[in-house]
């Protein structure tokens, strides 16, 4: 070890710590390093002398009582910079607004539901805001039966829906008097509302707890059970899409979601609800009072005209008029545009009184048309 390498070890040695053997051997034989060690010792002694020569103890100042600082914090006047005050006020405003928005969101939760008839041939769906009663509806379940229903959403909390429902099955008159076999659901016209209310006037509401994801079976007065499915929405979706309706339907599916039918740039019908069908020969039927029944099919049929469907629109010409069918979701799947067919039965008469607009699907369209024509 050399004198250039030794000084750090001198400092350590001076502090009473052990040093490597090499360093110790060097110090023993190096006058310069010994002098440095003496200097360190002398400096230390000088510093301690310096400290000893300074200030004598003096009286302790009065101590503040403990806790005073906290009390002082809450009671004392303090100076707050303007920007900090402004920031604080802004923060309070934002928090208040956020709280208001949160409360508004909680208050505006919606329940989007779908109800299937006991024979599973008709379905009805809509959205009801928590705390409100939904519009009355009825489901045609065959040539002689229908189920009227009213749903009320009492509360939506923690994702659970507490609801009340009245449902009653009513048999129609003699066969032929209410001649029609198309299962359908009807909602949204004054006539249908009055009809269902009359049906359910003396039917007590039944309360249910619904958890999204489940299929809730609701007994129907007069027989059978409705099947309820649904989900909670944070806001009104403005159009009803059945929970299991495909946004991208398969090539063998036809879906009409809140469709509107326009003829020669004039609106023929809208606000029907939604319907879907799949399988071998699927169709969706739309009844328009005074216009008859329009059947939208994926396969050709005698008397049907060809339409070109492209996603949410289908255009066709029939009886000298240009029609456009609009749907909120693609009408069918597969390569777009693609052909679909439209059949119109201008003499169709629905079984329900009042001749109201409706949409439905299920069964065989040819059988239904032939049934009404008999």
């Amino acid at each position: 070890m050399t004198c250039q390498e030794a000084p750090p070890f001198i400092s350590i040695l001076y502090d009473g710590e052990s040093v490597p053997k090499e360093a110790a051997e060097h110090f023993a034989s190096c006058p310069a390093c010994k002098e440095r060690l003496r200097d360190y010792a002398q400096m230390g002694a000088e510093l301690r002398l310096l400290a000893s020569s300074e200030g004598a103890p003096e009286a302790m100042p009065a101590l503040p009582p403990r806790g005073r600082r906290w009390a002082h914090t809450f009671t004392a006047r303090v100076l707050v910079p303007r920007f900090a005050l402004g920031l604080g006020v802004l923060l309070v405003a934002v928090l208040s607004l956020s709280l208001g928005v949160m409360r508004a969101q909680v208050a505006s939760l919606w329940f989007q539901f779908n109800v299937t008839s006991p024979d599973k041939l008709a379905s009805w769906g809509n959205e009801v805001q928590a705390g409100y009663r939904g519009k009355p509806a009825f489901l045609m379940t065959g040539p002689q039966g229908k189920v009227g229903a009213i749903i009320e959403v009492d509360e939506v909390q923690y994702g659970h829906v507490r609801l009340s429902m009245r449902a009653r099955r009513v048999e129609m008159g003699p066969a032929g008097q209410e001649a029609h076999s198309t299962p359908q659901s009807v909602e949204g016209t004054p006539e249908s509302d009055q009809m269902v209310r009359r049906m359910l006037a003396d039917s007590p509401p039944q309360q249910y707890e619904f958890i999204p994801g489940q299929v809730l079976e609701i007994p129907v007065e007069g027989g059978g059970k409705l099947q309820l499915t649904g989900r909670v929405l944070e806001r009104h979706a403005h159009f009803w899409v059945k929970e299991d309706y495909p946004i991208e339907p398969k090539p063998d599916q036809i879906v009409l979601t809140e469709p509107a039918l326009v003829r020669d740039q004039g609106l023929l019908v809208k606000g029907l609800g939604s319907a879907e069908a799949g399988g071998d020969d699927p169709y969706v039927a739309v009844f328009v009072p005074k216009e008859g029944l329009f059947g939208f099919l994926l396969k050709p049929m005698d008397g049907a005209v060809q339409a070109e469907a492209e996603y949410g629109q289908a255009r066709f010409r029939m009886d000298g008029h240009d029609y456009v069918l609009f749907s909120a979701t693609p009408i069918t799947g597969g390569q777009q545009p693609r052909e679909i067919w439209v059949y119109r039965d201008p003499n169709y008469q629905p079984s329900a009184p009042g001749a109201i607009s409706s949409i439905g699907s299920g069964g065989n369209f040819r059988d239904r048309i032939e049934g009404t024509q008999k």
Binding site: P8, D15, M43, G44, L47, L50, E54, M60, L63
Partner: protein, 172 residues
């Protein structure tokens, strides 16, 4: 004289007499350390009072397992002194070392000390005057043990050079 645990329990209980004993025992040394560390008597006085007050107001900050009560007090003061240097004074380089001339008498140790880097000066004082071990210094100042050793060596060399009036290579 109370030992540390006893004194600490008394302080936590709000015993003003125990606090006064602590104050009288350590004030002079603490103030001396701060004067040398800061080079400002008024600031040293203020910070010494603040350090004592911190112990009185927040008696739960001390952990007997980590060192003595005195070391805790000096640690508080050292941190406050460092803060004072950072925030209340613009950063300025250390005063230039006094020129060394052959044949002149060595400068006083107090003057020489003021030309040592402030952090190193504090460390040197705590080691030489207050006698804290490497481990205690590392804990008090929250620096690694190796840094304690290297800074002490640097400080001693700096002080020795100034005190003895030795020329450095930069002086030539």
């Amino acid at each position: 004289m109370l030992d540390d645990p006893e004194a600490w329990n008394a302080l936590r209980g709000g015993d003003t007499e125990a606090f006064e004993r602590l104050y009288q025992t350590h004030l002079a040394r603490l103030r001396s350390f701060l004067r040398r560390s800061l080079g400002d008597s008024k600031a040293a006085e203020d910070i010494a009072q603040e350090a004592f007050l911190q112990i009185w107001q927040h008696p739960n900050g001390f952990n007997p397992a980590r060192g003595s009560l005195k070391a805790y007090l000096f640690g508080i003061a050292a941190k406050r002194a460092a803060d004072w240097r950072r925030h209340r004074r613009p950063e300025s380089p250390a005063p230039p070392e006094p020129p060394a001339r052959a044949g002149e008498p060595p400068v006083l140790i107090a003057d020489a000390l003021q030309h040592v880097d402030p952090d190193t000066r504090s460390l040197l004082w705590l080691r030489e005057v207050e006698g804290y071990s490497y481990q205690e210094l590392a804990a008090m100042l929250e620096i690694p043990l190796g840094t304690v050793k290297s800074r002490l060596f640097t400080g001693r060399e700096q002080l020795r050079r100034i005190w003895k009036g030795e020329r450095t290579s930069e002086d030539v």
